[in-house]
């Protein structure tokens, strides 16, 4: 059975125009989580950040764990879709939009966390370089300042990267909608008419963005790793953190993407579009990342163990044997022991299989971020000042609310934008694969696509 262009449009635009009960329940749940998070944050601002469990010496814990985690998640999307786009991997088409949306939203959440985590959030704007009567500028030597710029750049870049390919789809919605919605989508589609000129420009812009976003994405997580690597703290001060964080980021990002795709497939009934093939391919990528991740953590711990510096070994043992050992081994199980067999066996690399593996990986990677931060902090150089950390309810709520926020944003996004790129799917229907028409074809003005020739080969089961 072949999908027609009309079917594609109908299937993919459906969620925008029809709202189901399950959807509303999900939004309600996510909203209540977000509201609880806002209340918790308000309480924290009102009374002081002492409502968290952080203390001396563990000054960072859940906050920065969530920050690194969400910034990590953000690496799936743009990076994958950019690379796949550049390598012209045609199976990517249904995947890119989901992935890019994950990027933008998790980056947004990740970027908000540092603002919430500081002791005086109302002064967070001091991170921004602007001329003031005080005559002071931010400290450009600070990795936090680098973070600010890296995240801001990446956010702008990935938003653009998400927006550009969505323009033709906005136009499609515009054409299908009426009333206020039509007006909104008219604005969003920026007057898209689907002329070959516009197609050409879009193609060029997307290529430029795809090329530009890859180094930005790699640098962002490298820079996040420098928050740690640039200090002297045992087990933070290591050169492997740059690649290690990027690997971890892609690892967790791909896992999050698979999870999101599995959920979309189930609830938006996109079985025809998100096929086992995609999960299979992403599963292979995930397997590679899992092995790479394991290699990184092995390299990190091996060099520590071999170097045998007392201050580092204190943290080392804290991780693998003492207080944090249960978490550490859970992490290894979640990130390696469970996913690798699942993903390595073709039989198990199904939609369900990859979703299960992704689920454990997301959990495992959260723990990994936590274990990078907390054990190192509570076992700094002077044993006299060693401490412990227990999260409080406020921190738990805030963490849950980041997931709620992500869900809410993602759910809202499905309401406004087709989760699978309509026009790209249509392009997929035509023979030359990813080719865009370069000749003027006035007869097919709508979305500017001329559909002709045999079907592409990569859409088969």
């Amino acid at each position: 059975m072949q999908i027609t262009a009309e079917q594609i449009e109908k299937d993919l635009l459906r969620p925008i125009f029809k709202t189901g009960r399950k959807y509303l329940v999900a939004v309600g749940l996510a909203t209540s989580l977000v509201l609880a998070g806002m209340a918790a944050f308000g309480y924290q601002v009102y009374t002081g950040i002492g409502v968290w469990g952080i203390n001396s010496p563990v000054f960072w814990a859940f906050d920065i764990t969530n920050f690194v985690f969400w910034i990590g998640i953000s690496h799936a999307g743009t990076l994958i879709s950019a690379i796949l786009r550049l390598t012209n991997a045609t199976w990517r088409r249904p995947v890119t939009r989901c992935a890019e949306a994950i990027t933008v939203f998790s980056l947004l959440i990740g970027g908000l966390i540092p603002l919430c985590h500081i002791g005086r959030p109302w002064l967070g704007y001091w991170m921004i370089p602007y001329p003031s009567q005080r005559g002071i500028w931010p400290n450009f030597r600070s990795p936090l300042e680098w973070d600010f710029f890296a995240i801001a750049t990446y956010l702008i870049g990935s938003t653009t990267f998400l927006y550009l390919p969505a323009i033709p789809d906005f136009a499609a919605v515009r054409d299908a909608a009426k009333g206020l919605r039509k007006r909104i989508y008219s604005i969003l589609s920026l007057g898209w008419q689907g002329t070959p000129r516009q197609w050409q420009r879009l193609e060029i812009a997307m290529h430029i963005m795809a090329i530009a976003i890859v180094p930005v994405a790699v640098s962002v997580h490298t820079i996040v790793s420098w928050d740690f690597a640039m200090t002297l703290i045992p087990m933070w001060h290591t050169t492997i953190f740059g690649p290690y964080f990027v690997v971890g980021a892609i690892f967790s990002g791909v896992a999050a993407l698979i999870l999101a795709m599995a959920l979309l497939r189930r609830f938006l009934h996109l079985e025809e579009y998100l096929k086992p093939l995609h999960f299979n391919n992403l599963g292979k990528l995930l397997l590679t990342m899992s092995l790479l991740w394991f290699y990184c953590i092995f390299a990190e711990f091996l060099t520590t163990w071999y170097g045998n510096t007392p201050s580092e070994m204190a943290v080392f043992w804290e991780n693998v044997r003492h207080n944090f050992a249960p978490l550490f081994w859970t992490m290894v199980v979640c990130n390696f022991v469970i996913p690798v067999p699942i993903l390595a066996m073709k039989k198990l690399r199904t939609v369900t299989g990859t979703a299960i593996a992704s689920c454990t990986i997301v959990i495992g990677m959260w723990i990994e971020r936590f274990l990078i931060i907390v054990p190192a902090l509570d076992h700094k150089f002077l044993p006299y000042s060693w401490g412990t950390y227990r999260p409080t309810l406020v921190e738990d709520i805030l963490m849950a609310s980041t997931f709620g926020f992500m869900t809410l944003l993602y759910l809202s996004f499905t309401k406004f934008v087709p989760m699978i790129s309509v026009w790209e799917m249509k392009v997929g229907l035509q023979p030359r694969g990813g080719g865009i028409l370069t000749t003027e074809a006035p007869g097919e003005k709508r979305h500017g696509l001329v559909l002709e020739g045999p079907l592409p080969t990569d859409v088969e089961e």
Binding site: P57, F381, Y384
Partner: protein, 235 residues
């Protein structure tokens, strides 16, 4: 002539009496946090006396070591502050501009000595305990990182006094609150740029070491190691 303030801690003289801790409380408006907060490691003292056990009964050994901000020349805390709240002053101190602090707590994480205290809440004084607060030092509020300043208010007031009298600062003219209270003279404060000051003399002692000196933070606090009996050929 610019100054370079330094402190020498003679571990052979230190008795662990902690008079310095209370003196610092009084001088620098450091609040007490109460039992519950203390239990989760949120005390605010700028100086602590570390106690280390070695060996076991019947021959246990104890070492006391006062640890305060080391006022490093290559301070890990300064580089990481995004707002320059933690910065290097003209006189070589690790300054902490409270009003500039937004509370990222990055400096405290980066500090290998764990000597920075954070205001997790607004500090509280049961009235009229607040009448004791030193008007020369600001009272920090919630979300602000603080730490030993080498009693910068005393440095400033001595400098202003010397300027008014049109003279240079004299060694021993003023000292930090901790050093002033120290009965066994284990703490000696002064100008390391003045080759004749007592602190310069002691800092060049053969017993001089730096805390975690291998990290390359170049502290301006010098520790003089404990000696043993009949091992007193150097002072």
């Amino acid at each position: 002539m610019s100054h370079k303030w330094g402190l020498v801690v003679d571990l052979d003289r230190c008795t662990g009496c902690e008079a310095c801790v209370v003196a610092c409380h009084a001088e620098n408006n450091i609040p007490t946090v109460g039992k519950d907060q203390a239990a989760i490691g949120r005390t605010m003292q700028w100086i602590r006396v570390e106690r280390t056990w070695e060996g076991d009964f019947p021959n246990p050994k104890v070492r006391f070591q006062p640890v305060l901000c080391q006022q490093c020349d290559a301070a890990p805390c300064e580089a990481v502050c995004p707002t320059y709240a933690s910065y290097h002053t003209e006189e070589g101190l690790n300054g902490q501009a409270y009003n500039r602090c937004i509370g990222t707590r990055f400096c405290a994480n980066a500090c290998p000595y764990t000597v920075r205290s954070f205001n997790f809440y607004n500090p509280q004084w049961q009235k009229p305990l607040n009448l004791q607060l030193n008007p020369d030092v600001s009272v920090r509020s919630v979300g602000i990182m603080e730490k030993c300043t080498f009693c910068v208010q005393r440095i400033k007031s001595a400098e202003i006094q010397a300027e008014a009298e049109k003279r240079d600062l004299k060694d021993g003219e003023f000292t930090t609150a901790c050093a002033q209270s120290c009965a066994s003279k284990a703490l000696v404060f002064g100008d390391l740029n003045d080759p004749h000051s007592e602190v310069s003399r002691l800092a060049s002692s053969s017993r001089a070491t730096k805390l975690l000196g291998e990290l390359g933070t170049k502290p301006n606090v010098t520790y003089l190691e404990r000696g043993a009996w009949q091992d007193a050929n150097n002072g």
